[in-house]
Symmetry: C2
Subunit: 207 residues, 2 copies
Amino acid sequence: MVATDRTKLRRAKEKGHHDRASLLDVLRAGFLCHLGVVVDGQPMVVPTVYGVSDDEIYFHGSVASRSLTQDTQVCVTVTHVDGLIIARSVFEHSVRYRSAMIYGVPRVVTDPEEKVEKLRLLTEHVTPGQWDYARQPVRKELAATTLLALSLDEASAKISNGWPDDEDEDLELDVWAGVLPMTQQWGKPLPAPDLREGIPFPGHLNR
Amino acid sequence: MVATDRTKLRRAKEKGHHDRASLLDVLRAGFLCHLGVVVDGQPMVVPTVYGVSDDEIYFHGSVASRSLTQDTQVCVTVTHVDGLIIARSVFEHSVRYRSAMIYGVPRVVTDPEEKVEKLRLLTEHVTPGQWDYARQPVRKELAATTLLALSLDEASAKISNGWPDDEDEDLELDVWAGVLPMTQQWGKPLPAPDLREGIPFPGHLNR
């Protein structure tokens, strides 16, 4: 993983991480990314699910079908909000977050065996256990799926997990300061309206 | 709000909404957006907080300082993940979400009075009650803040809140199907390490 002009962090340098482990920590903590592409010279940002291996991130090409043809530069950004940093001054309010940005030209995964393998990886990243439990894709479904792989070589992670950084004179104010933590929680599973009776909720979906 | 070539939804048309009320519902339900810009012909996607009025979205220009100079086209995307749609076939797995995409050229808010007003709006969107409670920005801080406003005129919202849509023959499988709901939750407030004793947690920060 290299720090290029793009991945060098211009602001808040102390928050930047260029090691692969920090990057993978951020990527493995979620399943939704924002995919940026340029269409007719204009930016377009689309949310989509992803999977990740030790050296690539995978996503469906169809989300940006009209733009992701070939040799298309993308920027994939993953952000987890961990809370709000509440300062004594409005100016110092900020966010606790972990984020990752990956730049590059994704390749289309065309080899049939690799495509199945990487689709399995993506499925297992988002819903561990489902690949072997649910019905796997048939040839027609595989053909209808465009799978893209993007190297993690040009990437960076940013982690903000600090406290309010107020001016010294503001510490004297009678104003509360701290962090409002935020987490994502899984709720009680909702069976589909057309689920047949007697089919148990599978344990591997318990989060 | 108009449906332009960009905001016309190419896929999943049934999920698209072009009315202002749907858009505002999505924007008011969160405070983090992903801002896409084009830098040297390449996409860059940066997470940042935003505020919203009835006809504009507001964010800090500094997040993309080297790219957001003037007349810069942006795409602002806001996504809330509401759950995973678990189908009987891997192919039909999907996500419950609400998202909004806004395109346009943001204007820099330069009028001092308007700048304060819109910063108040942004602050109150992210942390309601804090503008009047915390210390408000002084002249130097206002000068250090670039505030951008983007019209909601070219925008669309997408809402996916359905159920798995399996092939008829898959309904016979002994495979569970439904939705794993996901929500964001606020945790117990964490006082700053340097918070003076005797300063109560303000009720307006209770979520």
